[in-house]
């Protein structure tokens, strides 16, 4: 691009990290950095979104993501509406599109949607006129989580390119893993996906990741370990036999931690199963970035909410 005056952000929606360029991702991270300063002020508020309305449309349980979006919007002085509906729209009798159109008819500027079906945010973005921010759609993507993970890694190492990042656990069913994978590879990190063969399909190699089923073979070589939450219902669907066996092969135990690089950075999107995928001492230890992730989530979401509303209809 030669035109330096060209806008660096042109998207009305944030749906996936897959569709973003490295430049766009970096632009969000830089915008987030400038918003992070707001949280250090005594009055933690800017008028950037005064008079704008954000609705949290959550079709799935969530505490931290919803709270984070709420707080991010309130720091930008937006008005906030909460809408939650458990289960699919099908079971309720009203379609997602109808629900969204109703919400939109109240005059909202941003719909933040969390939904159990992959593609729900994309579907919504084709239907409504306001901005749509994907807060997690099924096993597809969780772009703001991906962004906050990138932000946290960059903050820690001062860079992302060249780092080796292991994402460990239930990759197949994880939207966090997918958003991290797209974001990290676009920014030049090497991504290693680790987990049992039933939960880490080889297909992921096509997306530029390395697929490994032996955590011990890579544990000493990586700069970042992002542990995913173990979903107990996968035992019923025979994707692994027991929690005990999962921990034995893929848990971040103290013993494994001893063999990590000295400056290894430990991450987890939460909520954690302490003692299962991650031992408490590590989660609470000095190498852990878990609470920084939460803090940075706020700045990243402020940046996203701000940017998507700066784009005209």
């Amino acid at each position: 691009m030669t035109d330096t005056a060209a806008p660096r952000w042109t998207r009305k929606h944030l749906l996936t990290l897959e569709e973003l360029s490295a430049e766009e991702i970096l632009f969000i991270l830089d915008t987030a950095a400038s918003f992070k300063e707001v949280s250090t002020r005594s009055i933690k508020k800017v008028p950037a979104l005064r008079g704008r309305v954000m609705v949290n449309a959550f079709f799935e349980d969530s505490t931290r993501t919803r709270t984070s979006f709420t707080l991010a919007a309130s720091r930008l002085s937006a008005d906030i509406l909460d809408f939650s509906e458990k289960g699919s729209s099908v079971s309720k009798g009203e379609t997602l599109i109808d629900t969204a159109r109703n919400i939109e008819a109240m005059g909202v500027d941003i719909i933040v949607i969390r939904h159990p079906a992959a593609g729900a945010a994309t579907l919504l973005s084709r239907t409504v006129k306001c901005s749509v921010v994907n807060a997690g759609d099924g096993a597809h993507e969780h772009p703001t989580q991906g962004l906050l993970d990138l932000y946290t890694i960059r903050e820690r190492f001062g860079k992302i390119a060249g780092l080796k990042v292991a994402i460990v656990g239930d990759i197949a069913n994880s939207r966090v893993a997918r958003s991290n994978l797209w974001g990290l590879t676009k920014l030049g990190a090497e991504v290693i996906l680790v987990g049992p063969t039933t939960l880490v399909p080889r297909a992921f190699e096509k997306f530029g990741a390395k697929v490994v089923h032996d955590l011990d073979s890579v544990i000493g070589t990586v700069d970042v370990i992002n542990m995913l939450r173990v979903q107990f219902e996968r035992i019923k669907s025979s994707q692994f036999p027991s929690v005990r066996e999962f921990t034995r092969f893929f848990g971040l135990t103290q013993e494994r931690f001893q063999r990590c690089k000295e400056n290894v950075f430990i991450m987890h999107p939460g909520p954690m199963n302490r003692g299962i995928e991650i031992s408490s001492g590590i989660a609470d230890g000095p190498q852990s970035g878990i609470l920084q992730q939460v803090t940075n989530g706020l700045s990243v979401r402020m940046a996203v909410l701000y940017l998507v509303t700066q784009v005209g209809a």
Binding site: E18, S88, S89, V90, T95, L96, I97, H115, A117, A118, G119, A120, T122, L123, D137, G138, A139, H140, E141, A172, N173, R175, R178, P201, A203, F204, K206, F207
Partner: protein, 432 residues
């Protein structure tokens, strides 16, 4: 009944494998003659530059009656059929309730007579309620006019029930059509592969289809019932059928237009018009299906015309129902997929859409021989048009091919010696 003389067309008769410039005379509802100087007739149609072929046959459609008449009825289905050049269609029994008894078979036959457009022939369920547990009254349904048997929408999962079904149908020399999908391997919303992995959408592996084909072929080895694989979609399936045929088993297969033209890449946008079952597979599977058509492993072409309400299709990808409509654009799509690239000839295409389809369901159709019923389709092989599902006579609009530029079209559809539809006038006797 007024006689019809179709003049100056190119006649394709796959039942005798000939192609010639000639006239065709239809009198008293039957083919009277093919030749020159056939005299006069009440109606004369100039077919110069056009192809005159036996009425097209599609043995795999869903007309949603009874139960979901807002999506399609036998009448609206018959209308969309003739508008696509089809004179005979066989409708699947996955209605509500299922076509699993004589009364339901009778209903379809009566509704088809009332509509008086295409021949709509019902396919009876293999098992009661399509539940895969107990055999339905196959013999009685046959006597009443069922043309074949299938639990389409699902396969018969229980091996012992399937073995009994093959044994029982063998007694009547009828054909079992199987929707091949092993349910314990299925449950997804698209092809299980690289694209589904990226999208986080649960997948339907190719093995779900192949496992059931392999099992059925094995069961049928000692039984010898006529067995037809519906909507084949994977390279492995094509290979299984190829081997079964080599072994001399009475196995046939069909393929739908979308499995010859589209891949799972289309699902990336979560557009539910690309959600069908079997799902869109990979480019390698498409290639294998085309190869299967070329070498005769796949016998016929069938649309799997599956209407759904717009409201249903506007759902989240994983919740939306499977299926697309296809009768009105099938012919030009097959031509695009198979004839234009030179995989098969027009004659081979017409054979697959007429005589060979008639063969599978033992219909005395798919021919232009004198004395046979006057089901004739006239095709303009050079008619360029843009597919627009909003103009279809179907009640539904779920079609991913809208906007496609295609190069041929059925222009006149004659059923039982009467013009039922033409491109200029639409449905005869009905104001458009």
């Amino acid at each position: 009944m007024p006689s019809i003389l179709i003049k100056n067309g190119t006649i394709f008769d796959p039942s005798r494998v000939f192609e010639l410039r000639a006239d065709l005379l239809i009198r008293d509802g039957r083919i009277a003659a093919v030749g020159t100087n056939l005299g006069s007739a009440d109606t004369v149609i100039d077919a110069a530059g056009k192809y005159v072929v036996p009425g097209l046959i599609d043995i795999h459609v869903h007309f949603r009656e009874p139960g979901d008449e807002e999506e399609e009825t036998v009448a609206s289905g018959a209308a969309t059929a003739v508008a696509g050049g089809f004179t005979t269609v066989c409708c699947m029994p996955n209605t509500k309730p299922a076509l699993d008894n004589e009364g339901q078979i009778e209903l379809i036959i009566r509704q088809a007579q009332r509509a008086n457009l295409a021949n709509v022939l019902p396919i009876g369920a293999i098992t009661k309620g399509r539940e895969g547990k107990e055999l339905a009254e196959i013999g009685s349904m046959l006597q009443r006019g069922a043309i074949a048997f299938s639990d389409d929408g699902v396969g018969v999962a229980d091996a012992s029930v399937m073995r009994k079904a093959l044994q029982y149908c063998k007694m009547f020399d009828t054909v079992i059509m199987q929707h091949c999908e092993e349910p314990t391997l299925s449950g997804g919303a698209m092809h299980a592969g690289v694209v589904s992995a990226g999208l986080g959408v649960p997948g339907i592996p190719a093995e779900a289809e192949q496992l059931m084909i392999a099992r059925d072929v094995l069961l049928d080895r000692t039984i010898g019932c006529r067995y037809h694989v519906q909507h084949i979609s994977t390279a492995g399936s094509v290979e299984l059928i190829r081997r079964a045929k080599r072994d001399g088993l009475p196995v046939t297969a069909e393929v739908a237009p979308h499995h010859l033209l589209l891949t799972d890449e289309m699902c990336r946008t979560f557009d539910t018009n690309y959600k069908m079952n079997p799902p869109l597979r990979t480019a390698a599977d498409v290639k294998a299906c085309i190869a299967g058509v070329k070498d005769g492993t796949i016998d016929i072409l069938a649309t799997d015309h599956a209407p759904h309400l717009a409201e249903e299709k506007e759902l989240e990808f994983v919740y939306a129902p499977f299926g697309i409509i296809g009768l009105e654009c099938a012919l030009p799509l097959y031509v695009k997929a198979l004839v234009e690239p030179g995989h098969i000839t027009w004659m081979q295409l017409i054979a697959m859409m007429t005589a060979k389809a008639a063969d599978i369901v033992k219909l005395d159709k798919g021919t232009l021989q004198a004395g046979k019923v006057g089901d004739v389709t006239i095709i303009d092989p050079n008619h360029k048009w843009t597919i627009d599902c909003a103009r279809f006579l179907s009640k539904s609009r779920n079609c991913p091919f809208t906007g496609w530029e295609v190069g041929c079209r059925a222009v006149t559809t004659i059923v039982g010696g009467e013009v039922k539809w033409s491109l200029e006038e639409g449905i005869r006797g009905r104001s458009q």
